[in-house]
């Protein structure tokens, strides 16, 4: 279980001081798929970095399965918002995906199989030998996703992973993430700006307020576990849920919790 308790993060650089997170508390059960939404600049990336142990919070704690997180915990994979900079330009696409697997000391055949499988799944079969900077923005982002997926993590953190891909590919990737989650029961924490995406993907959606950031609201998505792009999105319950999330976000931007009743 992932527990975030009273998390606070203040960036200080020179005279400038930014309170990115004020007081954040929520939990994610093992094997859960939680989507995080919130206004731009509210501290989502900051939160994810703290959870991954990449950034030290100013106050509060992050615990994974009861252990406080101080560095990146094993079995964790992360897709960075800055996908372009997170790929190593000196390695081919294949090497970028394979390197973490080597670190996990997987045998060669397994690595090769995983790399091929995931690159294929994100629609990049055939680009193994290219360097990342020879790819389009969306392709780079998919390489970063493939790298995380191939890692077979137990916890997967994704920071706006589909921002640069087209609608169709995005739908495919959404289904990929859900399939993966169902198959391997990984814990997924997924940041997105797309409310529909959050509702379609998540079992729960956590909404953050705008700065100073707290948890604005949380809902459980009580849609059936079997989802598909056509029918789920057409479901009236889907529309209800997305409207609720939308309103909460609107309220968050206005800076106070919505007074409307929960769904």
């Amino acid at each position: 279980m992932l527990e975030v308790t009273s998390l606070k993060k203040v960036y200080r650089s020179g005279e400038r001081e930014v309170e990115a997170l004020r007081d954040l508390t929520f939990t994610v059960d093992n094997g859960d798929l939680v989507c995080l939404v919130g206004p731009s600049g509210c501290g989502k990336t900051t939160l994810l970095r703290c959870i991954a142990g990449l950034l030290e919070p100013t106050a509060g704690t992050v615990r994974l399965d009861g252990h406080p997180v101080s560095g990146p915990p094993p079995g964790l994979a992360m897709v960075f918002q800055e996908y372009g900079r997170s790929l190593f330009p000196w390695m081919s696409v294949r090497d970028n995906v394979e390197l973490p697997l080597k670190q996990k000391k997987l045998p060669r055949e397994r690595r090769t199989a995983l790399v091929e499988e995931t690159l294929d799944a994100v629609g990049l079969a055939g680009t193994e030998k290219a360097y990342p900077w020879q790819l389009s923005g969306g392709m780079q982002q998919r390489v970063a996703i493939a790298r995380a997926v191939a890692y077979e993590p137990s916890t997967l953190l994704m920071d706006e992973p589909f921002a640069a891909v087209d609608a169709q590919t995005r739908a495919d990737l959404e289904d990929l993430v859900r399939a993966l989650w169902q198959r391997l029961r990984v814990t997924v924490l997924f940041i997105t700006h797309d409310i529909d995406e959050a509702v379609y993907l998540g079992r729960r959606v956590v909404m953050l307020s705008s700065s100073p950031t707290v948890v604005q609201d949380e809902i459980t998505i009580d849609l059936p576990a079997e989802r598909d792009q056509l029918h789920t999105r057409a479901d009236p319950r889907f529309t209800e849920l997305r409207t609720h999330v939308y309103e909460q976000i609107q309220a968050a931007k206005r800076g106070r919790p919505s007074t409307e009743a929960a769904v």
Partner: protein, 254 residues
Amino acid sequence: MRRAAYVLGLPVVLLAAWFVLSAGSENFYAPPLRQILESFGETWTLDRLGADVVPSLLRLLAGYALAAVLGVAAGVVIGLNRRVRATVEPVLEFFRAIPPPVLVPVIMLFAGIGDGMKVIVIVFGCVWPVLLNTVEGVRAVDGVQLDTARAYGIGGPARLTRVILPAASPQIAAGLRQALSIAIILMVISEMFAASNGLGFTIVQFQRSFAIPEMWSGIILLGLLGFVLSLLFRLVEGRALRWYHGLREAQRRS
């Protein structure tokens, strides 16, 4: 064809200018280029090359290789660790500012007067650009790349060899390249002490025995040597940093 023109164009122009301008030179210390070129052929016979240039080259390569390894290794340690940097930087700066010629006697105290001393003098002088550039390169590694490595548990040696060193490699290359020419300079300086052969020694001997055209021919040979070495270096660098040059050229030329 075009490349050859680029490589040879300017040198040919400069040499021609030198040749013409120096043709009537009466100055004892600046003889006509024609005379220098003549003596070049007479001076640098195969025997001479074997007896003087080869030992110099060996010392040079040994010193350079050692300096490269030391510089990169120390540079990584210093660049990665603020405390180490704070501790050793003043001492390093101290030694860096001391001219190698005045240190030679001290080095001789510890390393004797053999080839070892000369190699150490070369190392001592040309380790600095490598070290400094490695430190700067390591410090400037992109934060997102480092975070990526951490998140995926890429630690220990792999973090070093697969992330930090490649990321810093363009700047390390800059340092290595500068070190190369400094190494040649120090090869000459080191051969001014307790030497009995070597290119530097020979040039100094020519200078002392007033064999001025021969001395100039030696300087030209040094330049040629440096040129060839740096060509080799560029070849190696071009291969090792293919990704980097590709990345930089990608949008521009393709």
